[in-house]
């Protein structure tokens, strides 16, 4: 899970989930704590979905 996905591609990651921002990939200080948790859940769910998806090449799960 990372923000600058071109870097993930360059270093060879196969399952990539884009995140919010460099200093807080799984958070957003502009939101309330509750909203942040919801956002974090959503992103980690995407990661779990990616882990359950067969891929044959580098894939970004938007």
């Amino acid at each position: 899970m990372c923000t600058v996905t071109p870097i993930s591609l360059t270093v060879g990651a196969n399952r990539i989930v884009p995140t919010v921002a460099i200093p807080h990939p799984l958070g957003n200080p502009a939101l309330t704590h509750e909203e942040e948790k919801t956002l974090r859940r959503h992103l980690v769910e995407k990661a779990l979905k990616a882990l359950q998806t067969e891929v044959t090449e580098q894939t970004i799960f938007e």
Binding site: V4, P6, P25, R40
Partner: protein, 349 residues
């Protein structure tokens, strides 16, 4: 002959605006020279002058690639330059990506020669070395003199549209371009000379280095997530408060293995980040923003995943050598496999 007009692109740190806390600095155009432009300017002597400098925060650029590109190109174009120079970025990853991206865009949209410089392991190097010339620099700003010493003469050559020699001669990263020329000695003699050196254990230079692909086939998907053990790994430097293993804030020489058994939420009193390459404020306030323990514990409770592995592994990715990263992961992935982990979520900053 009139002086070559140069526009220089640098980040917030080299412009002396600030460090990580100012990485969100939006593009600014300043007349004349700023920061390292001074060294470049001295090397140019009377041949070229830096008429303007564009400054942009590394996080702003990388998090707003399309918008930032447009803004910066407009600023560059407004100065009607003959030549564009970005960086040098040394081993700063976001800065290298920004320099490569903007040099490539200026070359394409404004049709003027461009040059940048960075360390070989900078992610921007692999991304852009075939698109723009990238001078090879040392891995930190201690190498500024060396970098400028190579960038200035090459930049002048580009601006004067002179012929550019091989990468090894001019000091740029090999870019895959081949030019045919006649060797002075025939191939059979060169091959035998090389073989004799090799047999004698002497050093020799290969004429054709093998490419380093370093790609791994994707592993099969997790079949049943509700029974799976998921482990967390991060390069974002999340460590127990106090950084007990003293993981370095840059160029990490080690990683940590930490027990989160019974921990359902990372807080500012129990954890922190050791990473020196991004503004630590947000990660220190709530470390779950980099290592999502709270959410994975919830998923565990809800039966979405079988289990969150009790250990997580952490290092600091800031300027850490590729060889080190490979070494760390080779070591701890053996443990992960032995511990029955089915999948890993790796977070990075």
């Amino acid at each position: 002959m009139s002086k070559i007009r140069v526009v220089h692109y640098i980040n917030q740190f080299f412009a002396n605006i600030g460090g990580e806390e100012k990485a969100d600095y939006q593009p600014e155009l300043r007349q004349g020279i700023v920061g390292p432009g001074l060294a470049l300017s001295a090397a140019f002597k009377d041949e070229a002058e830096i008429v303007a400098t564009v400054i942009c925060g590394d996080s702003y650029f990388n998090e707003n690639l399309e918008k930032a590109k447009k803004e910066v190109i407009q600023m560059v174009a407004s100065q009607k330059p003959d030549l564009f120079i970005a960086g040098p970025a040394f081993n700063a990853g976001r800065y290298g990506v920004a320099c490569g991206t903007i040099a490539d865009a200026v070359q394409a949209e404004l049709g003027i020669p461009v040059l940048t410089g960075m360390y070989q392991e900078n992610p921007g190097a692999d991304m852009f070395k075939t698109k723009v010339l990238i001078v090879e620099t040392k891995n930190s700003a201690a190498g500024m003199r060396d970098a400028v010493g190579k960038m200035a003469p090459l930049a002048l050559k580009l601006a004067r549209k002179e012929e550019i020699g091989a990468s090894s001669e001019e000091g740029y990263l090999p870019n895959g371009v081949r030019k045919n020329f006649f060797e002075t000695e025939r191939g059979s003699k060169r091959a035998v000379d090389m073989l004799i050196k090799k047999l004698a254990g002497k050093a020799f230079t290969t004429e054709y280095p093998m490419p380093n692909f370093d790609r791994v086939k994707p592993n099969p998907a997790v079949k049943d997530l509700s029974k799976a053990t998921i482990a967390l790994v991060t390069s974002g430097g999340i460590v127990p408060k106090g950084n007990p293993d003293h993981i370095e804030s840059s160029s990490a020489s080690r990683y940590g293995k930490y027990d989160i058994d019974g921990i359902y939420d990372l807080t500012s009193s129990s954890f922190q980040t050791a990473h020196g390459g991004y503004d630590p404020t947000y990660a220190n306030e709530d470390p779950d923003r980099v290592l999502p323990v709270d959410v994975l514990r919830d998923f565990e409770k809800e039966g979405k995943i079988g289990k969150l592995h009790r250990y997580y592994y952490s290092t600091v990715g800031n300027g850490t050598a590729v060889a080190s990263a490979v070494k760390f992961a080779s070591q701890f992935s053996k443990e992960l496999v032995n511990d029955g982990v089915d999948a890993v979520i790796l977070t990075s900053t």
